[in-house]
């Protein structure tokens, strides 16, 4: 009891690492992708972002990574601006002409990190995703799951503290996905990562996250923000627990409400 009081006290004190306030995004062609989007991300947590296709999930990640800009509203990072960001795309997006090692080393090369130091960081990242022995293999020789591991290692190699992941495991089978989910939970704890995780799978969203944010489309906005108050990191047994099922049902309901609402709007 004392423990939980303490942790909630700490939770109350933690300042969000990132805040999006009243963010709107209108694309050049007039599509309103986001309207009055609000989100505060706690440090060292996993936040899942779910919502119907086209609701603006990728747009949110692009704004956060500054690949895209916002039209209205504000985005603020925690004072001190101590965030270091990495992005994992839906496809592995590897350079086919480079070996696993060179692919992972790319961000360090672009940052002109000295070779010796870079190689150390690369082998650390390779170990972290369990790709030892595949350093000199070319992407075409890798399975989909392994490619995704390379992509994650490439994101980790710069030692980021914020990780944006856009449906990274969408193209993988259930088994591989489960394994990578497990590895991701480990990594998040080992490296104190703050992760924003976009997914279409309700189960994945609940299993991974401290918090699931449900979005609706046209215009994209937050319709539900569900805290997943189960111990973290989780093990596969959690997938069959009553608590897990309850959360999945809750997310599922918000999601169908969101879908229904946008359907009603469209009609």
């Amino acid at each position: 009891m004392i423990g939980s009081n303490l942790s909630s006290a700490i939770a109350m004190k933690t300042q969000p690492i990132l805040t999006l306030e009243h963010v709107g995004k209108t694309y050049a062609n007039g599509t309103v992708a986001l309207q009055d989007f609000n989100l505060a991300v706690e440090p060292n947590t996993i936040t899942s972002l779910v919502g119907p296709s086209g609701c603006g999930k990728s747009t949110v990640l692009r704004i956060i990574s500054e690949l895209g800009d916002l039209s209205t509203g504000r985005m603020t990072w925690r004072s001190g601006n101590d965030h270091k960001l990495a992005y994992v795309f839906q496809e592995a997006a590897l350079m086919p002409w480079a070996t696993v090692m060179d692919n992972i080393r790319l961000p360090l090369k672009l940052a002109k990190v000295p070779k010796r130091q870079a190689l150390g960081l690369v082998s650390e990242a390779i170990a972290q995703v369990g790709l030892q022995g595949f350093e000199r293999v070319y992407p075409r020789e890798l399975s989909g799951g392994m490619k995704m591991r390379v992509s994650i290692a490439r994101a980790l190699v710069t030692r980021p503290n914020v990780l944006l992941m856009d449906e990274p495991f969408g193209a993988l089978d259930e088994m591989t996905r489960g394994k990578l989910n497990q590895d991701l939970l480990q990594l998040q704890h080992q490296r104190n990562l703050t992760i924003l995780f976009v997914t279409h799978s309700i189960y994945e969203a609940v299993y991974l996250a401290h918090r699931v944010v449900v979005m609706a489309s046209k215009p994209g906005r937050v319709v539900a923000d569900i805290a997943i108050d189960s111990p973290h990191p989780r093990d596969p047994d959690y997938r069959t627990s009553a608590q897990f099922n309850r959360y999945c049902r809750e997310v599922s309901h918000s999601l169908s409400d969101a879908m229904g609402e946008s359907l009603a709007l469209a009609l």
Binding site: L67, A93, M95, W97, F134, V137, R140
Partner: protein
């Protein structure tokens, strides 16, 4: 390791097997059949050699006239090779320049097309007059004009074919223009460039021969086209064919060499050079 393949349990060396593959065997058989038909047709119809020599006579002439033909072959190859190197260097340079901005490409690409659409036979006399003190340079320029465009257009296409996710990755890692060019755009364009190079290799040879024809019989160094012209005047038709054979074989050799180069450079990653295992 993944990259090691299982050794075949046979003792046949790899190159023997590749010679015996249908890819090599089938065209050889077709060729032999056609040549035999040609030889037979010439003999049966009693066609005089000054109209159409048979393949055996052509080969005999080639062997007999080897000492005159080989120096000429060397001259033509030197022109074609110099032009190809010039086209590669200038083509890459121009392609990279075009890829720097859409505006440069838009403004100048039509002029690159102009080089391609200008019939070389028509401009060759002009170039030869302008560079009359240096026939070799004039012939190289003609061959270069023909070989230049495929390299430029293919490389430009390649430089602009970057994977959008990789472009974003480079942006996120704050890559500068040169890093993006060197680590992303140039590697992406390599297969395209090599495809262009293969086309240009053959074109450089054709350009060289055409330019030699236009230059005619003048000039101190004389290439294979000169030999064909002279043989034509003297009605030495078998020698004409022998010279033609040399040109054709050289063209095939250039293509094969550039294909081999392409396969070596792309073997690890590009589907055009990969063995597919399913």
């Amino acid at each position: 390791m993944l990259s090691t393949t299982l050794e075949q349990p046979t003792a046949t060396p790899k190159w023997v097997k590749s010679l015996l593959s249908p890819d090599v065997l089938a065209p050889i058989i077709v060729g032999l059949v056609l040549l035999t038909a040609w030889e037979l047709a010439v003999r049966i119809t009693n066609t005089p050699p000054y109209l159409l020599p048979g393949p055996i006579l052509i080969l005999q002439t080639l062997a007999k006239d080897w000492p005159t033909l080989i120096p000429s072959w060397f001259v033509t190859m030197k022109i074609a090779f110099t032009a190809l190197v010039a086209a590669t260097v200038s083509g890459l340079f121009v392609a990279i320049l075009f890829a720097q901005s859409k505006w440069i490409e838009r403004s100048f690409f039509p002029y690159a097309v102009l080089l391609q659409t200008t019939p070389i036979v028509a401009v060759a006399p002009l170039i030869i007059i302008w560079l009359k003190n240096n026939t070799f340079a004039a012939l190289v320029v003609c061959a270069w004009i023909v070989a230049f465009f495929p390299i430029v257009s293919n490389t430009v296409l390649g430089l602009n074919s970057t994977d959008p996710s990789l472009v974003n990755l480079f942006k996120l890692n704050k890559a500068n223009r040169w890093q993006t060019l060197w680590y992303l755009r140039l590697p992406t364009s390599l297969p395209y460039f090599l495809a262009g190079l293969r086309i240009s290799g053959g074109l450089a040879l054709i350009g060289a021969v055409v330019a030699e024809f236009v230059a005619g019989t003048g000039g101190a160094q004389s290439g294979l086209a000169y030999q064909i012209l002279i043989a034509g005047y003297n009605l030495q038709i078998p020698r004409m064919f022998a010279a033609l054979l040399l040109i054709t074989v050289s063209g095939i050799a250039i293509f094969a060499a550039l294909s081999a180069l392409s396969n070596v450079l792309l073997k690890n990653w590009h589907s055009s050079a990969m063995k597919h295992e399913n």
